[in-house]
């Protein structure tokens, strides 16, 4: 699975995590056809939540460390997204094909636009700070 060039920030760890995130979303769509849908769905969603927390955590660590001027804004975007995710989980405790589809669609959309609008800027900033 490749991350389209336009979505790459040029930072190895960041691109690798974005790629993995998208892979996760694909995994989530597979639960649709599975007999153990509910169990797999629960697991995939909790994985995703943990993964997103982790990914945001690393980005925020870099922002803090390098005193990124847009730290507050970018951090707020993350926080709002986590709230959305929490809200989604509250509403979709039960597995349904519709829930999976909704989640994957809205997450993919959010991720791509967040990369374009925020992460590319952050990636560039980190690369500059680390003189890469």
């Amino acid at each position: 699975m490749k991350l389209d060039l336009q979505f790459q920030t040029g930072l190895l760890w960041q691109d690798s995590q974005h790629k993995e995130w998208i892979w996760f979303l694909n995994e989530l769509t597979k639960t649709q056809k599975s007999k153990q849908g509910q169990e797999l769905f629960n697991q995939a969603v909790s994985f995703l939540v943990m993964y997103v927390h982790h990914h945001f955590g690393i980005e925020e660590e870099y922002m803090r460390r390098y005193a990124y001027p847009e730290e507050k804004f970018h951090g707020e975007e993350h926080r709002l997204y986590l709230l959305r995710l929490k809200d989604f989980r509250g509403k979709h405790r039960e597995y349904s094909d519709e829930a999976v589809l909704k989640m994957v669609e809205s997450m993919t959309e959010w991720l791509y636009s967040h990369i374009m609008e925020n992460d590319k800027k952050l990636g560039k900033f980190i690369l500059k700070k680390e003189h890469l």
């Binding site: 190895l12 697991q43 993964y51 982790h54 955590g57 690393i58 870099y62 003189h131």
Partner: protein, 136 residues
Amino acid sequence: MKLDVKYETGVVWQDFQHKQLIDLFEKIKEARSDNKDKNLYRYTIAFLAMYVNHHFKLEEEYMDKYTYPDTALHRKEHQEFIKEIKAFREENINYSEKGADELLTRMGEWILSHILENDQKLGEYIRSFEQKKSAS
């Protein structure tokens, strides 16, 4: 648990992930002592396995891209650990106190010695490689 300074590699993402690995380790301990939440215990272990895979993969991506000379050895260490986690999960599908203790002990020892012996070297290499790259 806090990661002592001597375990830091100086590579931000790498240090961050090591810290989180140690945190996961703590979470498993908590889930273990909380008998009621078996799902949490199972998910945390599953997440740990996934997380370890992710962390290793990322290190290996750097090793490949930066042509790290010790790649073969380092990769072998990773593979052995993954095998061990897999075996552990197969043997401990259900919650067991003995299993949890074994995992915790083994993981703790492994992480710390792997960081000291292998990751420090890799971290240093990544940093010097990136410095050279920026100088050229």
